[in-house]
Symmetry: C2
Subunit: 686 residues, 2 copies
């Protein structure tokens, strides 16, 4: 064949790679109504292997996109970590149990599920929200940036050449993307193939229509979410920096046959001298075992530090596990997937070129899989980026906010690498025989690191530093990865007053407890009312509005926010709620007030739909689901406060209930007037 | 056209009518792997109107089928009932608030949702479980029963002639099935039409392939779930008995524009002299108003008791509502649906012919819609019937259990009629002006009836009497509707010992609290471990098995249940769990035991899948979801007990932990030996 027709087209956003990071970006674009294409060189999505843990924070994010419940229901829940160590005779025994998720930090707990299912929900959500589909079997071949146009909002400064592959070219030789993995299944056992993937498979057959054609795409923004060997990263000349270690690990996804009593718990097993195993129980009776390989020969290449992969197969890995877990027996009849890897930690030097081509996920950070962070941090990269790009494309925000992607996420990647480095070494080391054994790992120290690591691993600890969109004190350049994200006009800088609500921490995601809808008494988790649709939120904690001074305060806010010169009209246009949504949470007794006690900015009237009943909430006891006590739990002062939340649920600002000017100033720091803005297509809720 | 080819076919079960009762039956059949057809004369499913409340118990049932969460998420939750009455000046005011669902009776609360969505989930579930689809546009024309063959298990004694309609014939003139309703929507507002109904609409187009052909179907069992005007009922010569009243009600489904403060609450509004309104807030900003029409003229027909329907339209109904709700204003721009009806209560004299042709739902009971019972009781009819028919067809149970359908459900229908009768009259009456006003309704009495009615309306109070499958004391003929459902061999009768677990009430559905899986510490609601798949369950409450006497007890049970002469092998065959599943719930501290402390009957070993980790539970505190305290909450004695649950979660038996013979006897009363039984196709879990 060889010949090809060259088509040419434009798009606002082009996403390269349809793994979790790329799909998260695409889902944001769908939710925000942005013209987007997402391409992947592979001809079909993956069906096995590549399981991973979902952190608490990731589940909160998936829930904000509308499919947290699916994740929660289908996944295996990990509740307890059991630590197994050698006793004095060198025989392994359970030495400790700790909760896998720190109680109270989130309404979700860490779970495990096959990556293919997670991708499925993204695909469904994209399709239902805006009809966006992944174009598979599309290989990018060339990328160039017109540097002169990168600051022009109307320009398409990026040109990408792509080639539509034939089905044969697009089919990976193995169903795993791991370079050393191999799908080993018996033909009857396709644990992760689910009925609703059929449509996906049919799509593959459509590939060939365009096969062997070339296309030139002009894009305003590009995301390279194309994995550890990122083609996009190479095109824009960026690099990963870091190191690798000597430790070699094997991974088996099996249905175990064993008398080990904790096989359905997450376990860290340190044997006396045969290495370590981590047990990760999964869905469908599967268990993932991470098994340290202590007997693998090294190749002569790279100074003898590289493992000789030809010597590794599932039997070798299983035998290692059997030695480590003895005297317990372990075998299997069903093997779903296996691989082997050497630990390495690397992070990208830059996360974007000109804030036009961005990188996310494995393209900018790689590390060991055992801490269960990979997919989470990758998705959270583009969850951080997506709404920002959409907001700029829609003319809501200036391009200045885009620098915060690198300052916020590269910092996280660095923290992750450090965490993984420490954790991996502790896990791979031999347990100390006694206090004199300095070469060994102290098991009490390991437990402490595990407990401490749990907070990091939850994703809840993420704390974005001062910037245009986070009203923290401190030097914006020092708070992130060093990128300058200070506001251009210092007069517009706003600083939070954290003491008004100590537990609504500026820079972190807002925590969640239950509040009641004033209009119908229904309990909601606060986060359930903060869906990811690109909307900023101003939360007014109104206090007890049966008190005259609180009633006055809320009336003043109503008047100020309704002023046609003020930020709401200026940046939102006629229709409140489409760019910035205003919510009230009061703590008068529910029965003592109705929504009509609140100014109309909290219950917009629509001539067709009547009043909006969904913006006023109360901190009171529910009939069936207890009392969230949000004022008490968040430490909110009696006179209340005003909180600004980013579209990704992170806290931008906490300030006085009387300081409406600060709110106006905050938005003025990066928002652009609604006048003349293209019509906003808004996807509300989910 | 007119000409037709006559095809002939056989099926195990034919279901006539694809409303909630028919779909529930079909779903059971799909779950149990029974050869089934379900036909409906209409060409497409409904898209608007016909909303209804979902009781707590209905939500529990939907959850047991795998889609309780969808119902819970998509529906509008009703938390509070507000009672509005005239004050001394005759102006309406809020006089009381009561919880809409009694706290603590279920893990779900009453919700409201459009019937079309509920049907959607059934259709999805049927399709995913066994590929079963509704055949639409199929009209039954003739039904005959070969009386000589009704007791022959291999016979197909029922012959039904059906005609495949053309699309035109199958399209109802209005999208509501109400004979007096009318779909009035503006063209832009199809609130209840959802993307995933598209496939359904495409199916309609396929109707015409078979159009104008006739078919003769030979069935083993038939369910007539074809509504109040049931064709099936007429064919088998059964009747409804009851009465109707003078009260006329209008129904409006609107997006209200109003300053009435409780429009998002369920409200019962009694005006001084203009009649009553019930407010039922729904999904998508809709509100259903049941409005008493006090000004409608009667026709001369039927002695002047019949309302003149030609005088009723949405404006007339709205004006009535405006008079009742004054001084509050009420209007609308969006009208989704409307109808009007006269209250009437009727119940079928028999629920089946020869226990071969059954009737369910509106075909055997009609009543007013305001109590929100209709769809619930209809679905619960066939939820009661489905597993029984499947069990007989699979050769597991004798036909004797089929009589319990009428004894159990006709009793419920009678109770429902009585409840509705009382409730409707209270609701339709004029409030008493003072204590001397004997013709008026006492409003305190109304509130009391409402509170009491709430327990009935929850569906939780259902209590099936003594029979072959409920080991209660009492005369089986007197406990239900009068049908004789006594066990044929009196020596096999077993009587429960309720004091061993007072809150696991024999005849009622088992309540639910959280228990933890021993193997992985995951909290589950007990009911989540009782999915509707046709399986009976033996729950062994094992007590504290770290105590030697409890350990001995559980070992004895293990030995007795594993005996190849005993009921498990006799009725289940080789593979435990496919007909009767054995579960253990102990209350030793979770950390003090592992699953290996339990006999193998609680953790069956499979040579390919290893041990079963999902059958042993513990009553202990969880890390994140509290402590269910099942022993305390259910009042279980320290030495434990044995509980038998029907496949529909109703309690058959509570007895001594030492009396394994009683369990054997209980199953011997109606089960048939596994030897020679056709191979059982089991759909486990959901």
């Amino acid at each position: 064949m060889g010949s090809s027709v060259t088509a040419e087209s434009t798009t606002d956003v082009l996403i390269i790679g349809a793994g979790p990071a790329g799909l998260m970006m695409a889902t944001w674009m769908a939710k925000c109504g942005i013209k987007t294409r997402i391409i992947d060189k592979r001809g079909s999505k993956i069906f096995n292997g590549q399981a991973d843990g979902l952190q608490c924070r990731t589940l909160e994010i998936l829930d904000s996109l509308g499919f947290g419940t699916r994740a929660w229901q289908e996944s295996n829940h990990m509740l307890e970590i059991c630590l197994w160590n050698p006793d004095e005779q060198g025989t392994i025994h359970r030495s400790d149990r700790i909760p896998d998720t720190i109680p109270g930090i989130s309404r979700f707990q860490q779970v495990v599920l096959h990556q293919g299912r997670i991708e499925r929900w993204f695909l469904d959500c994209m399709s239902e929200t805006s009809g966006l589909h992944v174009e598979r079997g599309v290989l990018p071949t060339k990328l160039s940036i017109d540097e002169s146009a990168v600051e022009d909002p109307d320009a398409h400064p990026i040109t990408i050449h792509v080639r539509h592959l034939t089905e044969e070219e697009a089919t990976p030789k193995q169903s795993s993307t791991s370079t050393n993995g191999q799908a080993v299944q018996d033909g009857l056992f396709r644990s992760n193939m689910s009925a609703d993937d059929t449509a996906e498979l049919i799509k593959v057959a459509e590939l060939n229509k365009k096969a062997n054609t070339e296309e030139i795409i002009h894009a305003k923004y590009v995301l390279g979410a194309d994995g550890a060997h990122s083609w996009t990263r190479g095109q824009i000349g960026l690099k990963l920096e870091g190191e690798s270690t000597d430790y070699i690990w094997g991974v088996l996804d099996i249905v175990p046959i064993t008398n080990f009593p904790d096989i359905r718990m997450r376990c860290a097993i340190h044997s006396a001298s045969n290495g370590s195993v981590m047990v990760i129980p999964r869905e469908n009776k599967l268990v993932r075992l991470y098994i340290q390989l202590t007997t693998t020969e090294k190749t002569a290449a790279e100074g003898g530090s590289k493992a000789d992969r030809s010597k590794i197969d599932p039997d070798v890995i299983l035998q290692s596990a059997q030695r480590i877990m003895a005297p317990y027996t372990l075998t299997y009849r069903k093997l779903d997937w296996w691989t082997a890897y050497q630990i390495g930690q690397r992070v990208g030097t830059q996360f974007s070129a000109y804030e036009r081509v961005f990188l996310a996920g494995d393209a900018v950070h790689t590390h060991s899989p055992k801490a269960g962070q990979g997919m989470n941090v990758s998705m959270q990269d583009s969850f951080n980026l997506g709404w920002k790009v959409a907001s700029v494309l829609k003319g809501i925000s200036s391009r200045s906010i885009l620098k915060t992607y690198q300052s916020e996420r590269r910092k996280i990647a660095q923290d992750l690498i450090e965490f993984d480095h420490k954790f991996s070494r502790l896990f791979s080391g031999r347990p100390a025989k006694d206090v004199m054994d300095e070469a060994g790992i102290n098991m009490e120290g390991f437990k402490e690191a595990f407990v401490k690591g749990n907070m990091f691993a939850s994703g809840i600890a993420v704390d974005y530093g001062a910037s245009t969109i986070v009203a923290q004190p401190g030097d914006p350049a020092n708070e992130g990865d060093g990128t300058d994200v200070a506001i251009s006009d210092p007069k517009l800088r706003v600083i939070s007053n954290q003491v008004l609500a100590p537990s609504i921490e500026v820079g972190k995601r807002i925590p969640s407890v239950k509040i009641l809808s004033q209009a119908d008494a229904r309990p909601w988790h606060l986060q359930e009312r903060l869906p990811s649709n690109g909307t900023w939120r101003v939360l007014v904690f109104a206090g007890d509005i049966t008190q005259p001074q609180q009633k006055e305060r809320i009336e003043r806010i109503g008047a100020a926010f309704s002023d046609t010169e003020a930020f709401l009209t200026r940046y939102t246009g006629d229709k409140f709620g489409s760019v910035i949504e205003v919510l009230a949470i009061h703590n008068a007794p529910r029965h003592s007030v109705t929504i009509f006690e609140f100014p109309e900015v909290f219950r917009n009237f629509d001539p067709v739909d009547g009043y909006d009943y969904e913006k006023i909430f109360v901190d009171d006891v529910s009939y069936h689901e207890g009392h969230g006590e949000i004022y008490k739990n968040f430490g909110i002062v009696p006179e209340g406060c005003i909180v600004i939340l980013r579209p990704d649920q992170y806290v931008s600002y906490v300030g006085s209930i009387d300081d409406v000017d600060a709110v106006d100033k905050f938005f003025s720091g990066f928002m652009l007037p609604a006048t003349g803005r293209p019509v906003v297509k808004q996807v509300n809720g989910h």
